[in-house]
């Protein structure tokens, strides 16, 4: 008798991270569940519960798979109050099949994807008016996924560390009024790890990716949070062209045109038929259950 998946009660998640870090692409890829992802997790299913979640599926099908990239969302600094109210809620159920780590599970999730500029403005000395409502929303949930890349190493010192420092100060203040925040879990994800220099470090992101490439931020975070509250992950929405023993091809499934553009922001899925995302499930699984699974 096949057991029905265990129902895991809903988790609300906020996805933050700088522009071009791949937040929406991550969600759209997850929603689309390409064949490569379903091969890794036979029985994996994304069931949208909101219209915005349905759109994610179409974004992947109409754009990503056809060699287009998703448009970023700009922070509308003149209308921040209105924008946070209208920011989409991606409500969905993710059915994760039984793994070596646990039984099959129906995860009910509701995610909001913040424009990248929000993250970039966190530590700004003069933040735009209305940004406090965004912080209120951020602190209303107990699961954050922070997506980062290391394309520009200077970001460790200039952007990530100051942003996390500011967020930690705000968490400490907010915990006084909202004790539930003591249960806040933060999944810090090194995105776009299909690049050769990162791919080999994906299995141990703490030591091989974050500590090596973003040491200032890594040291600060590990000092502030224990493993029950913060964990490091690596993911790649595009993956490599073949990462199973039957079809091994470690070339990134990513095409970057030689047109003067910054490769970090201007990359496209190279081959939609060899689409094997990596590491999309573990951070969500941990945020929802507190348990870590590995791919």
């Amino acid at each position: 008798m096949i057991k029905s998946p265990k129902q895991q009660k809903g988790s609300e998640i906020r996805m933050i991270g700088p522009r071009g870090s791949g937040k929406t692409t991550y969600l759209a890829t997850l929603a689309y569940c390409p064949k490569g992802l379903r091969e890794k997790y036979p029985g994996l299913k994304f069931t949208p519960y909101s219209e915005d979640a349905e759109k994610l599926v179409r974004l992947a099908g109409d754009l990503l798979k056809n060699g287009a990239k998703l448009a970023g969302t700009y922070l509308d600094k003149a209308n921040l109050t209105e924008q946070i109210q209208k920011l989409p809620y991606y409500d969905f159920q993710l059915t994760i099949p039984k793994t070596a780590y646990g039984p099959s599970l129906n995860l009910e999730l509701s995610a909001r994807d913040f424009p990248g500029e929000f993250f970039e403005k966190i530590a700004h000395p003069s933040p735009p008016a209305g940004i406090e409502l965004w912080f209120d929303d951020l602190f209303s949930v107990t699961g954050w996924m922070v997506m980062m890349t290391d394309w520009q190493p200077g970001r460790d010192q200039q952007q990530y560390y100051p942003a996390f420092k500011k967020l930690c100060e705000e968490i400490t203040n907010a915990q006084e009024i909202q004790p539930a925040l003591k249960n806040l879990k933060i999944a810090v994800v090194m995105a776009k790890c299909e690049r050769g220099e990162l791919w080999t470090g994906r299995k141990d992101p703490d030591l091989d990716l974050f500590q090596v490439r973003l040491p200032k931020t890594y040291n600060y975070l590990t000092d502030k949070f224990g493993p029950k509250r913060l964990q490091f992950f690596a993911c790649s929405s595009f993956g490599v062209l073949g990462d199973s023993r039957w079809s091994f091809d470690p070339r990134p499934n990513r095409y970057t045109p030689d047109d003067g553009s910054l490769h970090e922001y201007n990359a496209f899925l190279r081959n939609g038929d060899q689409w094997y995302p990596y590491g999309l499930i573990p951070p969500l699984y941990w945020l929802a259950t507190g348990k870590r699974i590995e791919e």
Binding site: R58, G67, P257, G260
Partner: protein
């Protein structure tokens, strides 16, 4: 969600929307009635498409055939007068209108820049009475480069938050074999249409003289342009930028 069409006088901005109103295999303007769009744009006296002398806006409901099926979206189509782009005196003499145009560009989701072919691009054998004696009025390569550079510089300054920049060289029937292009790049929603491959092909085949300017722009801008060639004589080529844009706007 606004799409603003910019480009010099007589490049074919209005001509393009009239051609689209006639419908293509994968794109249909549902509202307003396409016939009314066509009739409104014609100069009754000459029978030609009338030039646009002031900014015109129209809310269009468009159905587009995407990989995930037919989708409908609404867009505010803003057609700008060519004089605003080609004549600095016009801008000085019409400051309020020019400011309105700049505001519209700033607030638009997408900017569609239509460029003419340069004189050197045009194949005299393909003129076929099309441009005829008008060939000399087409920009030289240097003038074309300057036009492209000025427009991109304008967009960096006035539209830092635009999400899509599409640049098309219009009147493709004058500078390439459109039958061949149609064979290679006919859009079929049932097969993956690789937008990045099409973009790269068009950029290398037809935008070579603008390469330095484009690279310079891309180094400075977060949003990089996508390149097309269009012709009112080829619905297959004409619909491509609008299907591309439709994939975003219909899923917004």
């Amino acid at each position: 969600m606004s799409v603003i069409v910019i480009g010099d006088r007589q490049v074919g901005k209005t001509n393009m929307v009239v051609a689209l109103a006639e419908g293509t295999d994968n794109l249909v303007i549902r509202e307003p009635d396409p016939q009314s769009i066509i009739m409104k744009k014609y100069n009754v006296d000459t029978g030609d498409i009338a030039g646009t002398f002031k900014t015109q806006q129209e809310t269009l409901s468009i159905s587009v055939n995407l990989s995930t099926g037919w989708r409908e979206f609404q867009t505010n189509w803003i057609d700008t007068p060519g004089e605003a782009w080609s004549n600095p005196n016009w801008r000085q003499n019409n400051p309020a209108q020019w400011q309105d145009i700049k505001n519209s560009v700033r607030d638009s989701k997408a900017v569609f820049l239509l460029m003419p072919p340069s004189r050197n691009m045009i194949n005299p054998d393909q003129l076929d009475g099309g441009l005829g004696n008008e060939l000399d009025k087409q920009p030289t390569s240097l003038q074309w480069q300057n036009q492209l550079g000025e427009k991109l510089s304008f967009l960096r300054k006035n539209a830092p938050n635009v999400q899509h920049i599409l640049i098309s060289i219009h009147k493709a029937d004058l500078f390439c074999n459109i039958t061949q292009k149609e064979r290679k790049w006919r859009y079929n929603p049932l097969q993956n249409f690789r937008w990045v491959d099409y973009n790269e092909h068009i950029q290398q085949a037809h935008f070579k003289i603008g390469e330095k300017i484009i690279r310079q722009h891309n180094r400075q801008a977060f949003v990089t342009p996508r390149f097309f060639i269009t012709s009112t004589k080829s619905p297959v080529l004409l619909e491509l930028p609008w299907i591309y844009l439709g994939a975003y706007l219909a899923n917004d």
